[in-house]
Amino acid sequence: MNYILIAAAVLSGAAGLLGIRSITTDSGRSSWTMFLMALSFVVQLYILGIRGEQRGSCPLSDPGEILMFLGWSLTLFYLVVGSTYRVSLLGVFTAPIVTALLLIASMPGMLDIHPVHKNVSDYWWEMHTALSVLSYGALAIGSIAAIMFIVLDGFLKKHDMGSGLFKTMPPIFTLVSSMVRLTVTGVVFLTIGLVSGLMMSTHGGIHLWIAAVVWLGYLLLLGIWYVRGLTPKRMAMLIVSLFIASLAVFGAL
């Protein structure tokens, strides 16, 4: 299992390296980045499939599985965003994170060697965990788009147009639209995940309350963006800050 996991990490790592190389050598966007990420996605899906079979439920029962699932959802959104908004540079920022998540998941003790097969499943629990992790994937990529916006905004403000990174980055409007749409997608998933959490047979505990606060924060932010308006830079900074704060949910698990 670990070897397959490492293979997926190597593929996403290679995608990241190719992306970085295309930026530093000024050679434009690399289509191999997208291809390798797609390949890594397939391998990750295969491992999650095996774990799901072994568990008899959604594979989200140990830290390794949660990290794998998070990496998979990041890759999924990367692929979706990459083709829809042509922001393939996102791969340069996403691929190393996916690689790190998969490598950590492959470390000893992260994955149960003998996963317990559940005979009776709580479907609300499965929906809650799967959608929450998916929402984190969308919110994480949204944060990456926001970081990219902050970097590009800095270049434009300082009139620094000479770097390869500046040339390869997608336009400001594409980044703003990506970060907002991904945040909206993440919030939609989080909403369903939260409702499913409230329906679980077992009590969700403190992490559910923290998730509710995070959800309220995102809702407020999107409300301000659509109703009153906000400078894109402030929006980007708040998206990144909220995402970092939302990681507290994992601390409370």
Partner: protein, 340 residues
Amino acid sequence: MNLFCLGLNHETAPVEVRERFAVPLDLLGKRSQALTQLDGVSEAVVISTCNRMEVYVASQYEKLEIAEANLKQSLGIADDEHFYECKSDNALKHLCKVVSGLDSMVLGETEIFGQVKKAYQSALESSATGGMLNKVFQKSFGVGKKVRSQTLIHSGQTSVGSVALDLAEKIFNDLKHCTVMVIGAGEMSRTTVHSMILRGVKKVYVTNRSLENAEILAAEVGGEAVPFDEWDKVLAEVDVVISSTGATEPVVRAQHIESVRKKRKYRPLFMIDIAMPRDIDPAVGEFEEVYLYDLDTLQKQVQVSVAKRAAQVRECEKIIDEEVAEIIEYARKANQHRKQ
């Protein structure tokens, strides 16, 4: 190689001389054909652009000097002061340089490629070319393409307007959804807004101290003229501001932007100040959503691009030398084969 080139360009002749020898686009083919009637001239191609007029002639070896003399007489060249000439492989090398943009006023510009292609096409259609010039021009187009694809000779922008245009696309991606406001109906604004219109901007507002001039430019670009004391009323709608007035005090101040920020929902605003002295108060650039670029900043970028292109010249010349040597070697072998 029995090839001969006679011409003048922006470096050898002032505009009034270039004007005298310029050939209208629709007459290029006819003029080329007329030259082939001269004694000694078997094939001819006339190239004429704003910055150059060149004639490429193919002749039989023994008649090259007659062709040269007849050509000069036909063009009415009394003295050779403004003209340059090159023969055989030097003429081919020169053509390759012209096609690659190495001989252009703006180093590495790509427009010349199309202009030479059109001139050649006109000559071809007028039956002024044959085996020799057809090969020479086809090869030069191949060399031009190779130079462009293997070097960075055409990279970066070399005019203030095109740098501004690139920046606008870096911010807004597609200018089709953008509204532009031009403050001051001067030449610089006109050129910049024209290139933006070519990229399909949604709407253009023009304002000027003289409403009449604003209306003239607005009519020219299909935009709307706005009285000078009312331009701030449309500021909330616009995405790009191009300012180029002759005012001695700033026209756009921080309070103008502050008053429309909320109405604009803080969306990005790209401001291009190409006036000297500056029209837009530098404090305007302090607003988070405003990207302010003045003439100095844009010109600095132009200089960077020009320097980058200049650094590529040696690389381009190396490609041209190699390609020309290959062509000459191929022609020599073909000749030998024919003789045998």
